[in-house]
Assembly symmetry: none
Homo-oligomer: 456 residues x 2
């Protein structure tokens, strides 16, 4: 692969420049869920556009959607070679609780081998990694064995609500043989991995309403069913003692793990001890009876409480009987669960179990089915080889717990599979305070992407 | 009772004067919680002092505390007769939301049969009522069958934080056979009432901790016991299906309602329909099986969730697995429950039921025991007779759901019971905009106090 040397040498010689490019990107607070950050979203899109232009990509544009825009660019100079749609997102999660950050989320800070900041790993680090690889391949290598279309959206962290429509409208323009989704990670700095399965997501907000407004708990406590208590009872009933979800029919469509898959997943070098550490040391791991933790995390569906709110939550005491109570509830889904069917199961559960002392309403946010991709395709093999070259060991095939709605959207609308390869790490604190990107892994990632594009 | 005629006739002839006295008192914005009203607190104390002096009381003084001062006066000229400590407060609640007041809160205004203004009912109206009764009894009657000590504090609306210390320091000076607490009301203009029971309070904040910080619910959901779910399960377990609290031993010390008491409480003219409307129309009332709503509200202990918090509670969705979850939990207590014992019961419950997948900690806020005063005591009989004479009907004996910390303080520190008799009405808008005092009830109250002091 000597024809790749110039590209590889170029990125090695310009690591400071690329890291600064990532820092500048992380410094833009492009939180997609907050209205006040709308100007920052635009700034982040502009920033990506600038990089695409400077790389020498063609037809670079910030393309509007009903929500935040998509940044697009293409480099179609390898006739007869496959076309890859490279997917990224430039938006990030909110930062609360802010006081738990050791350095400010939008003041990217290097501590040890890590760069800390919101979005450093999810996924500005991955964006900059594949962009640096493409830039080096275009400008310094002879290794770009593919036509490339780059699509970087701004709504991934709110469930990509407008991406489906965008893909439909631009189906012709986005035509490709497969997609590379970089919104992912490996298992440890020395253990490369390819994700072949992703869980889906169904996300809901449930409100339980009692009295029309908050009451004095002394004057009315005892004769009114406390909505916070009712909510707690409803939530408590959603799991049985074996850690299984009790929504009626919840497991009916869950595809069973084959013997071969269970054997493969056993190879994932992720011990319970390691998982416990990565999960920020809960006193004890816990999950559905009859499955290993690796299986529970990737191959089994869950129901999680993402948020709880009722009454008075400030300092000290206020003797209020809340008029209403709220929970954010989401399910991680696996093939072949249907998110719409899961919503119906939740409604059926609430209809059966909510007492007549309250009313309730349910609002649905993102809904994504889980996906599984074949692991013997040429592009998966190209990825496998690239990882082995750069990391010196065979990558592990794994199923990931998170959802990437866009992988399902791309499969459904564009009719192509995704190779899911990114360079985050399990302890990167995604969606949490002190998010970080491991810098040596980031640089290895750039080289792996260069090899990947050359292997196609 | 012809010996009371001169006093009764005097107040009837001087109603305009007494009402003006109340208006002047209400016009002073003695809000205890706001630093900017500190001079008004002093003015209100001065005003009360002036009235006590003008009545001919002895040893009148504004006595300092670590916070706002107490105004004191005494009239000890009935040897061999009981001594009564009359309790009032001259401070008031804040006025916000100011724009909902129809007339300015500190420009007392008569509309129809009511005087509107902050503090008109809570409790400057009651202060002026008992002071006018004492003044008339001292100057025009022969009916003052008691030695009287008057204590009017300035911190009731902020929880009387310095009253306990004041009572301790002045234990000898305040020695009395019982206390009259005028900070109360009757059920309707034609339904006089005596409060003989108040619920106590034990207030806690419970935190359940899992992972050291929030996690991505996709990456870790399935292998970590969600602290919000654990909290919900713990809360759900705190009541059984009959609406009873399940903390071990919770009902052991609850004094049973006697047949006579239940009969008395049945006479309280408060229908379920009325309670439902006052409780801001929950879909259906609910409470401990086997008790009426009047009993549930005043005579039975409760456990309420005052607040809930975990994870992401903003708009939209965030796929977070919360590292911790919090509930504010309080119990309304009845005699003879001991708040410290209740804390131990809560701890025992948590020790037994919290899974090993989490840790938890508990913080206690206020703790006040419930109180009951014997309703066959001579002073309660004196109150009963006074109300019957003035209103023409037998008063209703009732138990109130809220707590009045000063009643417990006086019982605990001075060792005496309180007769709780005041002349507010349920629709007086206490602590809310458009507070008012019903003027005819105010004048009846003055006469009832005159009879009460004579009946001792």
């Amino acid at each position: 692969m000597t024809h790749l040397e110039p590209a590889i040498q170029h990125v090695r010689a310009h690591q400071d420049y690329v890291l600064q490019e990532l820092k500048d990107f992380v410094a833009i607070p492009s939180i997609s869920t907050l209205a006040e950050n709308k100007p920052d979203i635009q700034r982040a899109a502009d920033y990506v556009e600038k990089i695409l232009r400077s790389m020498g990509m063609d037809n670079v544009a910030i393309m509007p959607t009903a929500g935040h825009p998509v940044v697009y660019g293409e480099y179609l100079k390898a006739p007869g070679k496959p076309t890859v749609l490279v997917y990224g997102h430039y938006d990030v999660q909110p930062v609360d609780p802010l006081n738990e950050w050791l350095s400010k989320p939008f003041e990217p800070t290097v501590r040890g081998e890590n760069l800390y900041g919101r979005g450093a790993s999810d996924m500005k680090g991955q964006d900059i990694a594949f962009l640096a690889a493409l830039a080096a391949s275009i400008q310094h290598g002879g290794g770009l064995n593919a036509n490339v279309k780059v699509l970087i959206e701004g709504e991934e962290e709110i469930g990509s609500p407008n991406l489906g429509a965008f893909l439909k409208e631009n189906k012709e323009k986005l035509k490709a043989d497969f997609s590379l989704n970089a919104d992912s990670g490996i298992l440890a700095p020395h253990i490369p991995a390819i994700v072949y399965g992703l869980r889906g997501l169904a996300y809901f907000e449930l409100w339980v309403h009692g009295p029309e407004h908050d009451l004095h708990s002394g004057m009315f406590g005892g004769a009114v069913h406390n909505p916070a208590q009712v909510l707690a009872e409803l939530i408590a009933g959603m799991h049985d003692k074996k850690g299984r979800v009790t929504l009626p029919g919840y497991y009916d469509d869950v595809r069973k793990l084959t013997k071969e898959e269970r054997k493969n997943l056993k190879r994932v070098p992720r011990s319970d001890k390691q998982i416990k550490a990565e999960a920020a040391n809960p006193p004890k791991l816990y999950g559905e009876a009859g499955y290993t933790n690796v299986e529970r995390l990737g191959a089994r569906p869950t129901l999680e409480i993402n948020g709880l709110y009722a009454g008075f939550i400030g300092e000290g005491s206020k003797t209020v009987l809340p008029g209403k109570a709220m929970a954010k509830i989401s399910m991680r889904l696996v093939p072949d669960q249907d998110p719409d069917k899961v919503e119906k199961q939740l409604i059926a559960y609430l209809k059966k179990n909510a007492p007549k002392t309250v009313t309730w309403n349910l609002k649905a946010f993102g809904k994504t089915p889980g996906v599984l991709t074949a692991f013997d395709s040429p592009q998966v093999k190209a990825a496998q080889k690239a990882l082995q070259t750069v990391f010196g060991v065979k990558p592990v095939f794994r199923r990931e717990g998170g959802s990437v709605p866009v992988v399902s959207d791309i499969q459904r609308i564009l009719g192509i599979d995704s190779v899911i390869m990114g360079f985050g790490l399990p302890d990167d604190n995604l969606h949490a305070p002190n998010e970080k990107q491991h810098i040596p892994t980031f640089f290895k990632g750039i080289e792996a992407y260069i090899h990947f594009f050359a292997n196609l």
